[in-house]
Each structure stands twice: as structure tokens, then as C-alpha cells.
């Protein structure tokens, strides 16, 4: 398969993940969007190691270790979220605004 085609697909995935992570204010949707970026990175690593370079062992180790730790961190965040999910606040999985809320009030650190 053509490398340019693979890279274009992975970059589209990356852009979808990037914009949705910045757009949604739902924590679950933000984490799913981040998965898109992770998937596009994996496609890049594997496609480059298969098509461009012969020695792929080191990069496979790197990818496995990194992905394991990133997924672990995501699970820790989700566990922390649901440990604090109580009857007092049903909208807890939602932030009031998106992850980076580009607003003067936000930049000034006001609540």
C-alpha cells in the first residue's frame, strides 16, 4: 500500500481527534477523541517501520510500552471519575466548557 495514502488517512484521524478533543465538553467524548490521535500515531509508527525501515524491533518495544502506559493513564482517569460519581451531581461527566475554553474569563482565572 502507498505510504502517502496511509499517512493521509492517519493524519485525517489525527485531525478528527484533535478538533473533537477541543470541541466537546463531555469527558467521555474527550477521552474517545484522544483515542483517535493515539490510533493515528500507531498507524504512523507501524507503517513507517514496515515500509521504510527493516529493523522494527526497537520501535515495536517503544510502541508497546508507550501504548500500555497511555492506556493505563486513561483508565486511571476513568476510575477516578467514576469513584467520585455520586448521586449529588449527575452532570459530573460534563465540564461546563470544553477542555480549553478560549474566553477572557477563563484566561484571567475567574470562576
Amino acid at each position: 500500500m502507498n505510504l502517502v495514502y496511509i499517512f493521509s488517512m492517519s493524519f485525517i484521524l489525527f485531525l478528527i481527534g484533535l478538533f473533537s478533543a477541543l470541541f466537546f465538553n463531555d469527558i467521555t467524548k474527550q477521552i474517545i477523541s484522544i483515542q483517535f490521535i493515539l490510533a493515528s500515531s500507531l498507524i504512523n509508527f507501524l507503517s513507517f517501520s514496515q515500509t521504510l525501515y527493516d529493523s522494527s524491533t526497537i520501535i515495536i518495544i517503544f510502541v508497546l510500552l508507550s501504548v500500555f502506559l497511555i492506556i493505563l493513564f486513561q483508565f486511571l482517569i476513568i476510575i477516578y471519575l467514576y469513584l467520585n460519581f455520586t448521586k449529588y451531581d449527575f452532570k459530573i461527566v460534563k465540564f461546563e466548557n470544553s477542555l480549553f475554553y478560549f474566553n477572557l474569563k477563563e484566561w484571567m482565572g475567574e470562576e
Binding site: F7, F14, G17, A21, I27, Q30, I31, I34, I37, L38, S40, S41, L42, N44, F45, F48, S49, L52, Y53, I58, I59, I61, F62, L65, S66, L69, I70, L72, F73, Q74, L76, I77, Y80, L81, L83, N84, T86, Y88, D89, I92, F95, L99, F100, Y101, F102, E106, W107, M108, G109, E110, E111
Partner: protein, 551 residues
């Protein structure tokens, strides 16, 4: 003898890690214990081990000099950085003990904290992409674990339990219990997750362009890659921009500092940001290689200048407008961190060499330890006494407690960079940089007058940004509080006790601590000033400016 020789050859840098791992293993045996005597034992053991690692780190370097293998590298700069991080660890562990010694999870906190220190040190000495990324991820995971444990008492579950027990306190003590703490923590760490995934994506493109698995190989492998590396560089830069919480991505950071407990603030400022800076500096070879190309050099200069401009402007305006001392401290810290980017500007324009650049970065850490840290000590102590985070806490402080007031002034002057204080080295560099731009431009890589003027304007904005915040603090410290102005807002309720702003009670230990820091700032500042004014001046043959900065 051979065995001893083999062991001593491993002291640098592994001796430090062995001691800290020993501390973790001891903590495991007492992990679930809630007895105060075990907590004290683990605390004392951890402090002793941290102090021992501090000396082993320096002793190992003197014994074995530089160290390098496939994964890690350790030289003079790394040893000094590790020493400063271990000093930060000693300060942080005392703070954790002060605020959390009665927590059930105290020993677990200490255990994960020691792991956090190990991960920070691994990030500093990492050389390979695998070692770097894995240690950075381990650092973030352990940082998350420590922060969530430290703020457990402030989380929503506990808040709701307290509300169920007594519905009245909900409104009165809302400043103390902070139900939004966990939401702020969550948002901050999702931002970090966003950073780490962006960095991973940047690595994937960098790998495709260069086949680099080693930071030191970047020197050899980047040149043939040429302009294709720009995309990966842009993504990695954006990821670090998010990690360091510069304008306009400062929301989660400010919210985090505003809502979390005191010890979390120390961990954030003493571990999270220094680690970010060390991680960022690992990519310096890319910048240095691209700097050889005139066009690329020009682009990098503009990107760095825009970063400094946005960060200074955002933090300066935020620091001027807010009424919270925590937020002011956060903005001050962001401005100090921005100084690393000015160092990069000086490096790529050829004003300083790589040795001076490393020394300046270390100096910024020393500035944080000597001037910013005691400033935060005072702010947090005042907040702890008043039960409220407000700029009114320092109102007419100079009249209420002369010693603390004067010490606060000394730290502020040092951060401003007035002559006679430790921070003067930084301002001296900026001044010389500007003079060189307009007098000896031929020595620098700066292409035209336009770039020189832009650098001058950005430096003025940077200086003005933190000067405004400090002047505001100074005015408030010197303003006499009017007795008639006292309204409901000036009275805080803490543990059913009404405290007025006149009640400032610091213990002797606190006075001693602040006094030591103030003395260090003044003594070193005066020595540095004498060395700048009198070129032949030295103290027992030692010149601070020669050994620390001018190599």
C-alpha cells in the same frame, strides 16, 4: 576489592535510585498501617534517604565523572539538576508531612512520592526515546496518583459525606472543602493526557522522517531529513506549549492551583514544571541543527518570541486582575518558566553558548528554590491562618509583621532582579544581550535591525509583565488597612472561630526558615553584584559568576 570497585563504578547515577527504591521497599511493609509511630518512622527514613541520595549523587559524580549507556546519560549538568530536584523533594516531603500526617494514606503517599522522584530523575538522565517516553509517562502516572491521594479529603465523595452529616456547614465552609477540586484535577489531567498523545504523534512523524531512537543521534540524523521535520517539530512544540500551560491554554492549570490542597501546589511547581522543562530541553538538538539554516533560524526565533510574548502578556494581565494569591503565584511561576524560552532566544542568536545556556537553566531552578519557594511559603502560611485565599491577606503586612514583610520584599526584589539580590544575574544577562544587539550585532546570528527591535520590545513586555504583578504586590504590602473598611468579606470562618486580618501568628521555625532563605538571597546577591562591579573580586579564590554562569 574488585567487588568494591565494581560497586563504586555503579554509584553514578544508580546509587541515588537504589537508595530511593530502598525507601519504597521499606514503605511497602507499613503501607496499610495507620499508627502515627509508623508514619513518623517512614517519614524520617525517607528524609534520611533523600539526604543520602543528595550526597551520593554528588559524590558519585566526583568519583566516576560522566556516565553514558544506551538508555541514560549523566554529566555535570544532570548531576546539578538531580541535586536541585532532590532538594525540592526534601522540601516537598516536609510539606506533605505537615499537611497529611494524620491521613490514613500517609505511608502510601510517601511511597508513591518516592517513585515520583525516581521518575523525575530518570527523565533528566534519559537519552533514548524509549527511556525518555516511558519515564515521562511513569512520572505523569505517579504524579496523578500522588495528587489524587493528597486531595482525597477534598474530593466530592468526602464532601457529600460531610454534607450528609451536617447540612449547615455546606455554605459556611465552602472555601475550605471545595467540592470542585476533583473536577479541576480531572480537567488538568485530561489536558496532560492530550499533551502526551500529541507528543506520541509528534514522535511517530519524527521517526518516519529520521529513524531516530536516540536524542544524541538527532545531531546526525536530522540534517538529511531537512524541512520534512517541521511538521513533527510543530506538533511537539504545541504539545509542550499545552504541558507548560502557557496562554491561551492556562485554564486547567489555574483552575487546578485554585482548588487543590497546599502540598499539591508544591508538587506542581517543584516537580511537574521542572520535569516539563527538562523534557523540552531534550529536543534542543533539533533546534540547534535547524538553526544552521538561515530561514529556519529566523522562523524558530519568531516562534520563540511569540511564545514569550503570549505567555508574558497572558500571565501579566491575569496576575494584575486576579484577587487570589494562589493565582498570582501561578502566573509568577509561568513568567519565570518563560525565562527558559528567552534563554533559547539568546542561544540561537549566538549570544550565549550551550554551557552558559545549561548554567542559566540551572540558575532558574535555583531562583525558584531560593526566591519563589519562600514567597509561596509566606502566601500559603497566610492563607492557612486566614482560611481564605485572598490578596487582602498581605494587606499592610509590612506594618503587621515587620520580619515577614521585609523578607517578602527581599524575595520580590530578587524575582524582579534588582542589583544586590540573587535574581540580578538574569537581568544582567538581558541588559548585556540588548547592548550587544545594538552595538556588536556582527557577533550575533541576528539578521537585521528589525529582529533586534522585536527582541527588545518582547524583552520589555516580559520585564513589564512581571514588574506589574510585583509592583501590585508591593503596593498592597505597604498600604495601610483602614479599620472602617472591614465588612463581611474581611471576616472568615474557620473551625467556628472568627479571625480578623490583624491576627498573624507565625512560629519560630517559620521565622527561621524564611530568615535563612532571605539571608541566602542577600548574601549571594551582594557577592554577585561585587563580582559584576569589581572584575578582580573573589571570595577565597572563588567567583560565583565564573563558576555558575560565565564558564
Amino acid at each position: 576489592m574488585d567487588l568494591i570497585k565494581n560497586i563504586t563504578s555503579l554509584i553514578n547515577p544508580y546509587g541515588t535510585f537504589v537508595l530511593l527504591i530502598f525507601g519504597i521497599i521499606i514503605s511497602i511493609f507499613f503501607g496499610i498501617s495507620k499508627k502515627i509511630k509508623f508514619k513518623n518512622f517512614i517519614f524520617i527514613i525517607s528524609v534520611i534517604l533523600l539526604i543520602c541520595s543528595f550526597f551520593i549523587n554528588i559524590f558519585g559524580f566526583i568519583l566516576n565523572k560522566n556516565f553514558s549507556n544506551n538508555l541514560f546519560t549523566s554529566g555535570f549538568v544532570e548531576v546539578i539538576a538531580i541535586a536541585i530536584i532532590l532538594f525540592f523533594a526534601i522540601i516537598s516531603i516536609f510539606e506533605i508531612y505537615q499537611y497529611h500526617k494524620n491521613d490514613d494514606n500517609f505511608i502510601k503517599i510517601i511511597m508513591i512520592f518516592l517513585f515520583l522522584v525516581i521518575c523525575t530523575l530518570l527523565v533528566i538522565i534519559s537519552k533514548n526515546f524509549i527511556a525518555f517516553f516511558v519515564s515521562l509517562m511513569c512520572f505523569i502516572v505517579s504524579f496523578f496518583a500522588v495528587i489524587t491521594l493528597l486531595n482525597e479529603s477534598l474530593s466530592l465523595v468526602n464532601f457529600n459525606k460531610i454534607v450528609e452529616a451536617n447540612t449547615i456547614i455546606k455554605d459556611e465552609n465552602k472555601n475550605l472543602l471545595k467540592p470542585d477540586t476533583f473536577r479541576s484535577i480531572l480537567r488538568f489531567f485530561i489536558a496532560i493526557l492530550f499533551f502526551i498523545v500529541l507528543l506520541f504523534f509528534g514522535f511517530s512523524i519524527l521517526y518516519g522522517v529520521t529513524d531516530v531512537k536516540n536524542f544524541l543521534q538527532l545531531f546526525q540524523n536530522i540534517e538529511p531529513a531537512g524541512i520534512n521535520i517541521i511538521l513533527s517539530l510543530i506538533i511537539i512544540s504545541i504539545s509542550f506549549y499545552v504541558f507548560l500551560s502557557f496562554f491561551p491554554f492556562q485554564g486547567p492549570y489555574i483552575s487546578f492551583t485554585n482548588k487543590t490542597g497546599f502540598s499539591s501546589l508544591y508538587l506542581l511547581w517543584l516537580f511537574y514544571f521542572p520535569t516539563g522543562i527538562f523534557a523540552l530541553l531534550k529536543f534542543l538538538p533539533i533546534i540547534l541543527i535547524l538553526n544552521k539554516n538561515e530561514k529556519a533560524s529566523s522562523y524558530i526565533l519568531y516562534v520563540l518570541l511569540i511564545t514569550v510574548f503570549l505567555s508574558s502578556l497572558g500571565s501579566g494581565l491575569g496576575g494584575l486582575k486576579t484577587k487570589s494569591l494562589r493565582k498570582i503565584s501561578s502566573y509568577i511561576f509561568t513568567i519565570i518558566i518563560t525565562g527558559h524560552f528567552i534563554n533559547m532566544i539568546m542561544l540561537i542568536s549566538g549570544f550565549i553558548k550551550i554551557e552558559q545556556f545549561n548554567a542559566l537553566n540551572i540558575f532558574y531552578l535555583i531562583l525558584i528554590a531560593s526566591s519563589f519557594l519562600p514567597l509561596v511559603f509566606i502566601f500559603i502560611s497566610l492563607e492557612n491562618q486566614q482560611g481564605k485565599d485572598s490578596i487582602k491577606n498581605i494587606n499592610s503586612l509590612i506594618y503587621k509583621d515587620k520580619f515577614i514583610g521585609v523578607s517578602l520584599l527581599i524575595f520580590i526584589f530578587s524575582l524582579i532582579g534588582l542589583p544586590g539580590f540573587l535574581g540580578y544575574i538574569r537581568q544582567n544577562y538581558y541588559l548585556n544581550f540588548i547592548i550587544t544587539i545594538f552595538n556588536n550585532k556582527t557577533q550575533l546570528n541576528i539578521l537585521n535591525n528589525f529582529q533586534g527591535w522585536i527582541i527588545l520590545i518582547i524583552l520589555i513586555i516580559y520585564t513589564a509583565a512581571f514588574l506589574c504583578i510585583y509592583l501590585r504586590l508591593l503596593i498592597i504590602i505597604f498600604t495601610r488597612a483602614k479599620k472602617d473598611d472591614k465588612d463581611d468579606d474581611d471576616i472568615n470562618i474557620k473551625e467556628n472561630r472568627v479571625i480578623h486580618y490583624e491576627d498573624y501568628k507565625f512560629n519560630k521555625k517559620f521565622y527561621t526558615l524564611v530568615g535563612i532563605f532571605a539571608a541566602i538571597v542577600i548574601i549571594l546577591g551582594v557577592l554577585i553584584l561585587l563580582e559584576v562591579i569589581v572584575p578582580q573580586f573573589n571570595l577565597f579564590g572563588l567567583r560565583l559568576t565564573n563558576t555558575i554562569i560565565y564558564k
